[in-house]
Symmetry: C2
Subunit: 129 residues, 2 copies
DNA sequence: CCGGATCCGTATAGATACTG
DNA sequence: CAGTATCTATACGGATCCGG
């Protein structure tokens, strides 16, 4: 840690909690940054979706994983689930206020990646050789 | 899709690429949001670290996972690896400019989670019963 | 028909022990 | 100290079943 803290004023501040195994942040973080969690949150940023809508929208997700991911995020309070007792079943998923906030963060991350994809690909190729 | 796009101006814009399986963004996203990738990036935001420093700092990470994660992020051009040919070995990891940028995004996400942890925990409990 | 729950086979994450 | 080899656990996807 010698030359580490010279710059980076506020970043190194409160941080240090996520790094410990016990911290509850870690679990939330794992749910939110899970393979499908990220995409579900971003998808729902565009508004309410039905189960099948999400399944179609998020390429490659299996029914099992989508259901599981939605349940996780619902338990964490990021997603609202409304099941209409009709036949055939009709279930709508949407973001809670909390979910919208964290969705914005995830959205920013993905936005950055997509915007900088050319640069990233170029950086990759240098090493691939 | 009906009442979805009424608000959300720029968000629904360029998005749609990440949702497809083939998109290279997906792979980058998976590396960056992987369980340990997130923590490695944030850890390196505080400056250069040696392998063992990272291992100590990031609670619960195994040697194999740390090595693997570092290699991924190095290949993606987010991390610089400098190995000094001495004995015992001395290897330093740091963020590239690109890595610093994406690290800032990840940092913001984690920051939000830590800041809102009380609210999240409260929202969770409502459902846990 | 839709939204899951369940079971099972496989791929990847992960811990541990070992090597240069 | 930094990283690989080997082995085990779990995450994941696919198919199937089910209740409305």
């Amino acid at each position: 840690m010698p030359q580490a803290n010279t710059r980076m004023s506020k970043i190194a501040q409160r941080r240090g909690e996520v790094f410990s195994t016990a911290c509850p942040s870690r679990e939330i973080l794992n749910h939110v940054t899970s393979r499908w969690g990220v995409l579900v949150l971003v998808a729902l940023m565009e508004g309410t979706h039905r189960f099948s809508d999400l399944r179609r929208k998020i390429g490659g997700v299996s029914e099992k994983m989508l259901a599981q991911t939605l349940q996780q995020l619902e338990k964490d309070g990021f997603i609202d689930r409304i099941a209409y007792p009709v036949v055939p079943p009709h279930v709508e998923y949407s973001l809670t206020p909390l979910g919208t906030e964290i969705g914005a963060q995830v959205d920013a991350l993905i936005d950055w990646i997509e915007s900088n994809l050319p640069k990233i690909m170029k950086a990759q190729q240098k090493r691939a050789a």
